[in-house]
Subunit: 200 residues, 2 copies
Amino acid sequence: MPKQPDPARRSERSRQAILDATRELVSEVGYAKVSIEAIAARAGVGKQTIYRWWRSKGAVVFDSFLALSDAGEGDLALPDTGDIEADLKAVMRATVAEFADPAFSAPIRALNMEIIGDPGLAAQYLEKLAGPLDEAKKARLRSAQQAGQIAPDADLDLALELLYAPLYQRWLLRSGPLTPEYADALVDLTLKALRPSARP
Amino acid sequence: MPKQPDPARRSERSRQAILDATRELVSEVGYAKVSIEAIAARAGVGKQTIYRWWRSKGAVVFDSFLALSDAGEGDLALPDTGDIEADLKAVMRATVAEFADPAFSAPIRALNMEIIGDPGLAAQYLEKLAGPLDEAKKARLRSAQQAGQIAPDADLDLALELLYAPLYQRWLLRSGPLTPEYADALVDLTLKALRPSARP
């Protein structure tokens, strides 16, 4: 048991209130018009409380979106049962379900529209949000490489694009259904592309 | 030789002026604020001239973007030399070069931001612009299926997503370089995923 439970609890409540306020404001007014002042006012904290944990608006915005998914719990690692197909299907089915859910996807869509129009914000997004998630995914692909389930010379950045970009595009353009079967089909095709060459 | 060359030439000049004006206006003020009146004024034609060729604002906007690429010449067919790998690499290298060129990609980016935020516009985009292009690409994949270069049961819609969505995502998020090598790598991986099963 910690010696001072109350300050720790208060601290966690403030952090949550800041993340919630940030996400709400981005959805309501767009990234460009969100200010640290507005976040502080809505979260009921002082500006200094925000700056104690985050260096910039970009940092708190991307943390607030990271907190939306399970990955926000701090552990970004993918499941590793030893079966890359089963593990990727579980992860992709969960991702497809998230994007099919308007409560999750509406603020992410608002953020994506800003990122697409703003190269500086795109760079921050890649560094602070997509980068850490991609590293966690590549760690799982690397373990599959070591197990001989993926070709040793596979380009893992390209592998992630193959796996996730079709889902991203289908969601952005609303060009097809987001279903568990779609998640499975993406995993099957990607693993076929990444499979080690058969020995002669 | 046509009997009346002058009206035909004048007609083609008007059509080009309308398409150019449309694209300029979408880039300058965004899709939502473009009107048929504004297009007519900038192109130096009457509104009725536009309505003679296009039923709606969406129709002329998507035609104006279709006209940007080679596909706009009216022939959407992909090359068919009998070698699907060579043909797809030629097409993907050309596509990557277009997206790497700001003169081509800036108006397309503006249009994409509108499409992503507007489900109705997305549906029009899929029907009028992406749909015809996708059908032409699928026709080439189908001929590769008949030649035994692609699995007979391959899902060709999914195949197109695998081939193009990584490029689209990389361009939208500016997450990596758009190079001929990248085009080739996407074709190699996609064809590996689509390859017919080896006979036992």
